[in-house]
Symmetry: D2
Subunit: 282 residues, 4 copies
């Protein structure tokens, strides 16, 4: 059912979080402890904002734990913002275009969860995608369609609103089809400046999602831990499940909430799906 993580803060060599933690994302690909599936071996992806223009994306259908190139990149890419995802397919094909993150311009998007009844809903959801965006859908996942719906509904100008409308539209469409509890989602979104971490499900029993606590507090709690001592005030990690069992380091992101990681104080905002006006008219 996938796992993901994101880093926002001082420039960091990716492997510090992906490989060198006790229970990093690559370890989670092989042995997830909190996921619906214990194995997330159906491909992975890494997106980062570093050298060159715009975000880079490396995606592969190999399991993350065995991909030699991922180890290379993780050891040789440094970035102030990156987002990684390991996939466990819920039935769609194992192919690069189904691996997260998905990209549009400066934006990257990842999703852990599922749209229930997607097989039945897929056509209606795709029809609602803006015709100019439609040709950009390359794969067959529910996640890529959700991202393009959010883009359709204004994500680039209003990221939270765009996602709220996308999810609201999915729920409205599902209701027309008599599908219950359509949305199960923990989602990450970033433009390289801000990071949005969403936790939401129709039934209000969402997949786990955690963020690292205030860096100053973390440093004070663990004075002997060298790695944690290097944390700076603007550093923040978001993860599907904690990278290590350290008290006071991780806090759960609340149900139906979005955490906004940004320059200055971060914010927790409510996440309220909306039925978009243009869709209501369909």
């Amino acid at each position: 059912m996938c796992r993901w993580m994101a880093w926002s803060g001082q420039p960091l060599i990716v492997e510090e979080l992906l490989f060198k933690t006790e229970h990093g994302l690559v370890d989670q690909s092989l042995h997830s402890r909190m996921g619906v599936e214990t194995t997330n071996g159906d491909g992975f992806g890494l997106g980062w904002y570093g050298q060159g223009e715009g975000p880079a994306v490396y995606r592969s259908i190999a399991p993350a734990w065995g991909d030699a190139n991922l180890r290379e990149l993780a050891a040789h890419v440094e970035a102030p913002m990156f987002i990684a995802h390991v996939r466990a397919t819920t039935g769609t094909a194992i192919q690069q275009t189904n691996c997260h993150p998905f990209r549009h311009g400066r934006w990257l998007f990842v999703h852990n969860g599922v749209i229930n009844g997607f097989h039945e809903l897929r056509r209606d959801l795709m029809l609602a995608v803006d015709p100019s965006l439609f040709p950009n859908i390359e794969g067959s996942t529910d996640s890529e369609v959700v991202f393009h719906l959010a883009l359709t509904f204004g994500l680039e100008d209003d990221p939270i609103g765009g996602v709220e409308k996308a999810i609201g539209f999915v729920e409205a469409t599902a209701e027309q089809h008599g599908i219950e509890n359509p949305v199960q989602a923990s989602m990450g979104l970033t433009d390289g400046e801000c990071l949005y971490a969403f936790r939401y499900s129709t039934e209000r029993k969402s997949r786990t999602l955690f963020s690292s606590c205030d860096a100053a507090a973390v440093r004070e709690l663990h004075p002997q831990n060298e790695r944690l001592q290097r944390l700076q005030d603007e550093d923040r990690v978001v993860v599907s499940e904690p990278l290590a069992d350290l008290p006071g380091v991780w806090e759960s992101i609340a149900e139906s909430t979005v955490l906004v990681v940004q320059p200055g104080p971060d914010e927790h905002r409510p996440f309220r799906p909306q039925v978009p006006a243009q869709a209501a008219a369909i």
Copy 2:
């Protein structure tokens, strides 16, 4: 721009045609002589009717010339009907779900050519696919959409009519978008009993397509050629380009024509795109 071939006749070990001919399909993947592109290295596929139920499909994104598994299968699969395809992408992703043949029930479909302006037409064409078939579209190629349009328009009951309506619909849609010469196609279709080989393009300058001549005539012309002497009366090969430079062995399939390879005498029929009634109403 792809190459394909098909065999219909006595049960044959696949490698006899794929690897053991002077200029077989795998050689064409590396050095096509008549194709728009000389290299067809963006994946391949093999479909066959042999053991087990229904057709089997093996598809890979590796170049055909270098895939060790293809050599194994070709040497160990025997079938009275098989169809193979090597791909040169016109821009869509290199992934298994974009490799031919495409399958629906007992049917296999391959396409060499292109829908011009597909990026622009894709949404309209996909909307015309029957909602019950829509979720089966797994990849992002024009070819897979054409196949699902043909299925929508009755391919299973009337194979030639289904394809004529699909192509007619593409041409009508392209006209609405002001796109010229939308269809360039050599296509193969089979249910394991009959093989249909279509050659058509809107501008009437279609990709090459050949069939082997009458087996009796071929045997008589080449009495010293052991392989050709083994040809039986019902055997027929269809190829994008001849497998070897042998006089009297290959005949070009005429423009705007479909060759029907079937038990008893084969037939050449005209191919006339039609605008389907249901689409006309859209």
Copy 3:
């Protein structure tokens, strides 16, 4: 640490054992219950004796559970003898040439286990391989070297003796290097006529290995089980772990033993590593 299975008996569609059993090999690739590792996702292989000459081998670095082609082949290949393997690497590269089964002429070989200290022993072991066989080693696994040692020591004329000498040679070489408990092995070997299933480790604590019980007894025990009722007297399955929890269907192959599945009554013979004469002289 790998899992494997083999079938010898009436011609069978491969998927019957690979996919359609309660806890078949592909399920074991994702959730092994008795293996050292629970996930065997570092590639797989299938070898069979069917159409065409000699054994066919299909190997892939994708996890078995997600490989679309494996599903296709399993549903469309029928054979009286086949052997399949799912891999969990102990450190060597994930590549086709490291996937089992390994082949030499009519012979196929699979191995679940490890040569401890192989990194240190590799050179000495490879030097002992017959120079005419040396160039055939394409990968970097301990298993492939063991197979080529067995071939060097006469496997083709005396299969059990060849393997006993290979293992004896590994143990003798390890002793020179001060490596304890060098061999941990459950191995499968077949020429398409007989199937040899070895269970051995230097410390006499070998990986699990089971065979199906006498077909007549199995049928009698489970009169309501349609699949088991179809078992014929010469049918035999060998597996790293049972395919289903059915009492009286599976028996453990004893420590330091080789089961010979052959026309007529099968045999259990002792397995006693020998130091080969030619190696003793090195």
Copy 4:
């Protein structure tokens, strides 16, 4: 038969040379003009000295022209030294461990060419590799063995001498086996500080190899070419075949010569294979 290129100079985004030139290496993978084979589609590799410790290596078995990840990396990796290689196998397996560059510590090595009779020579050559280096050989190419021979013969202290001894040893071994013209090689070697470009073959008819001319001269010759105007005095490109048809930009590296690209004036030195003392004693 492979193609390669290397950059040494000011930090450069890799795609500038790999993709944005008229006839860059990726274009050469599809349409080589000077190579023995026109298609170099059996994998590729890119090594660079940038962020993180030591050189990074990205290798893939996909054709370079179709690998989406290569495009991503090329657009987002900036380095003052990088080396890239596209492969056309001469028979050995298509697998990552057979893709160039090969790495040892800070060193990267690429090879375009072939050791004739390698199948026969492989065992003798591998035996001469230092036992401590032997386990590092992961693939099955002649190139990787040549690199490990050069390491055995002192490459890290004396790069040119190490390669001269490796080639001398191959030639001596081939002579013992009665193999003529064993070595055909254009090779690249770097530790991130200096770049060595070797051109040598036993028969003195070596594969093509070019370097860019003195940057000042190039700028003066092409005052209108913006890209060339950005060349700085220490910048140097080495390529199997010129990236564009520009007069005065490329000079052929002479037969039996090694170009040393280094801080300060570069040097052309003779390349003279030597039979290493320790090997002579074997």
